[in-house]
């Protein structure tokens, strides 16, 4: 193909690439209740995580052809979105000390509110605009049936039961139906956000967790530019206010890249319903095509198999625990 003589950069799509590891290993989520339970809770958590984290590393190494060292980065997410508690200055050193005690290194630290808005980019809102609902059989291009704003299901909802008119019997209840059901349905309807009377929108925990997974998979862009880019940690300590901490901090200067072909998250099994919801969301989110192509090309060059479907790139270890 001959190179075009005339080009207009605004007329061409462009997507910047991000560096990629083989595996992004999440060592935990921290919510206020965990913090309130005291440092003992963190200590138990990391002790539980340790063997599974090692197993995840071993599995990633086994998947690497020729026995070469896989690039693996670890991360940890702190909730500062739903509740604000403590301060980075107080919490982060404690967190790092407990991880260290268990023999774990946290490479990257993220704030959950960064999954909602990073800098000036309304990340969660943009991802919401990328939801393409899975069509139930019979969808021929007509409007999707009864899309519930702010909710996303893995199938068709039960028809709304109307109040029976006098002398008429009520319509029989119809079950909801999971589109990908194998004989029987496991129907899930996920609340993505809620709006308060002032119009202020709060995104749900599963929705932000889906954004978090997309960030870790290197699939988020804003007008072609990477978002959720790790900032180096240069200061000696940590700030007093969460807002002063970047959304994503690289704590380990020698860490492998934050984003990766696949993710693995080790967490207590109370997160199971949330993470089921995350899969339902990811399965119906169309990610940036340029980013998707870059991942496909890079992994092919490295002889790494990356599943086509984005939801299949994430994995979990749920341990028994609070």
């Amino acid at each position: 193909m001959t190179e075009a003589v005339f080009r207009e950069t605004t007329a061409e799509p462009r997507t910047q690439a991000v560096p990629l590891s083989h595996l992004s290993l999440e060592l935990g989520h921290l919510y206020m209740e965990d913090f309130e339970a005291g440092p003992q809770r963190l200590r138990e958590h990391f002790a539980q995580v340790r063997p599974w984290a090692e197993a995840a590393r071993a599995a990633a190494a086994a998947a690497r052809p020729g026995g070469r060292r896989p690039r693996i980065s670890t991360c940890f997410l702190i909730d500062d979105y739903f509740t604000r508690f403590s301060s980075p200055a107080e919490l982060v050193p404690l967190l790092l000390a407990e991880a260290d005690r268990a023999g774990l290194t946290i490479d990257y630290l993220a704030r959950e509110s960064g999954c909602a808005v990073t800098g000036k980019v309304p990340l969660a809102q943009a991802v919401a605009g990328r939801i393409v609902e899975s069509p139930p059989p019979g969808s021929y291009g007509n409007r999707p049936p009864a899309a519930q704003t702010g909710w996303l299901a893995n199938g068709e909802r039960s028809p709304v039961a109307r109040a029976p008119q006098a002398m008429k019997t009520a319509a029989a209840w119809q079950p909801p139906k999971e589109t990908a059901a194998r004989r029987h349905s496991v129907f899930l309807d996920v609340e993505l956000w809620s709006d308060d009377p002032d119009g202020h929108r709060t995104f749900s925990c599963p929705f932000l967790a889906a954004v978090w997974q997309l960030a870790r998979l290197g699939l988020l862009r804003n007008e072609g530019e990477p978002v959720f880019v790790p900032q180096p940690h240069t200061a000696s300590g940590f700030p007093e206010d969460w807002d002063e901490l970047p959304a994503l901090v690289r704590l380990n200067p020698r860490a492998d890249p934050f984003a990766a072909y696949r993710t693995c998250s080790v967490m207590p099994n109370r997160f199971l319903p949330v993470e089921h919801a995350v899969r339902v969301i990811l399965d119906q989110t169309e990610v940036d095509r340029g980013a998707l192509r870059q991942v496909a090309e890079r992994s092919a060059r490295e002889d790494m198999t990356v599943p086509d479907s984005v939801a299949d790139r994430i994995s979990y270890v749920f341990y028994a625990g609070p």
Binding site: L123, V132, L292, D308, A311
Partner: protein, 338 residues
């Protein structure tokens, strides 16, 4: 018809289909390029593509619609297919709005529906469950499917309806016009053949159908780009022909009844023709954004029916009318002056 999903696993496409809606943007003033970018910003995190050469042109990001339904077939065979239809909107010179929906079909697909994520990483691909007779489907699509069969026109319509409600539009179009629909299919050309138009039909109800052959591996977005360009110029011809239709010539020119009366009645020609001059005549620019490989398709259309030939004749007629009108008013001025 290549450029399928991220994996190598996606089979090559044997058929691409689409439908384009073309209409005048219902605003008094054409949108400038910044307003166009705002108007077409269908996604918060994706840029609107903007181009200023050789004319002003803006295109929205693609948005997807999921489908799971039978494909239209000429022989009534039922082929269920699942996937996504890509739709986008484009604005030319801030004046003509087009929405275009398209998809491509591989020759065969998995035997049963896959998890939805499988389809989302193959944007604009609709996979049949089982095997597909692409000729039957091509005929079925062009003929218009039955209710419940895949209807890309509905998807183009839905996007158009959504955009026409945009607050940037004052709903005061400068002239009367009707939207047109262009439905197209593209089948693979022979191994050494270039692209060709097998049939271009003007049907009733402002519907046009086009049947193309394109070299294998031509991305369906590029085919859609050619069809958008064809639809735009066909709409321009249709609209200007209709403008001139509204003009009864010669005798209707009111007799001069003094200066004030003349000013009121005289502008019949000008009133009818002027909006076309102001808003349409500069839009003619075939092939402005058609990829090089598909540009030869225009040559066929120039040969027969002769798009540009007809356009030039229309433009000449408009100019003649305006000239005659100018001479006429001069003549009356002379008459009225004692």
């Amino acid at each position: 018809m290549g450029d399928s999903g991220p994996g190598e696993s996606a089979p090559r496409a044997v058929l691409a289909c689409g439908e384009v809606r073309t209409c005048l943007l219902p605003t008094r003033q054409a949108l400038d390029i910044r307003a166009a970018a705002q108007f077409l910003g269908l996604r918060a995190d994706e840029r609107v593509l903007l181009s200023e050469r050789p004319n002003l042109y803006a295109r929205s990001p693609d948005i997807l619609t999921g489908v799971d339904c039978p494909l239209p077939t000429a022989n009534g065979a039922r082929v269920r297919a699942v996937g996504t239809v890509a739709a986008r909107a484009a604005l030319t010179e801030g004046r003509v709005l087009q929405t275009s929906a398209h998809f491509r079909l591989p020759a065969d697909g998995p035997d049963q529906r896959q998890p939805w994520g499988h389809y989302l990483v193959r944007p604009g691909v609709v996979e049949p469950l089982g095997k597909l007779s692409h000729e039957t489907v091509a005929q079925g699509v062009l003929g218009g499917g039955r209710h419940g069969e895949l209807d890309v026109g509905l998807i183009a319509d839905a996007l158009l309806t959504r955009l026409l409600r945009h607050p940037l539009l004052d709903q005061r179009p400068p002239l009367r016009s009707r939207p047109t629909r262009l439905r197209w299919v593209a089948l693979p050309a022979g191994p050494y053949d270039g692209p060709s138009i097998e049939r271009f039909t003007l049907a009733e109800d402002e519907l046009r159908t086009v049947r193309l052959r394109v070299p294998e591996g031509t991305p369906s977005a590029e085919i859609a780009g050619f069809c958008d360009d064809l639809a735009l110029h066909d709409w321009l011809l249709t609209t200007v022909v209709r403008v001139l239709d509204g003009l009864t010539l010669g005798s209707q020119e009111p007799p001069a009844r003094g200066r004030a009366g003349a000013v009121q009645d005289r502008p019949a020609v000008v009133r009818v023709v002027r909006p076309a001059v102001d808003h349409l005549l500069h839009l003619w620019m075939p092939r402005a954004r058609v990829v090089k490989d598909l540009a030869p398709l225009w040559e066929v259309l120039e040969e027969r029916p002769g798009f540009t030939r007809q356009w030039q004749a229309l433009v000449q007629r408009i100019r003649d009318q305006l000239t005659l009108h100018a001479i006429g008013s001069l003549y009356r001025e002379v008459e009225l002056t004692p």
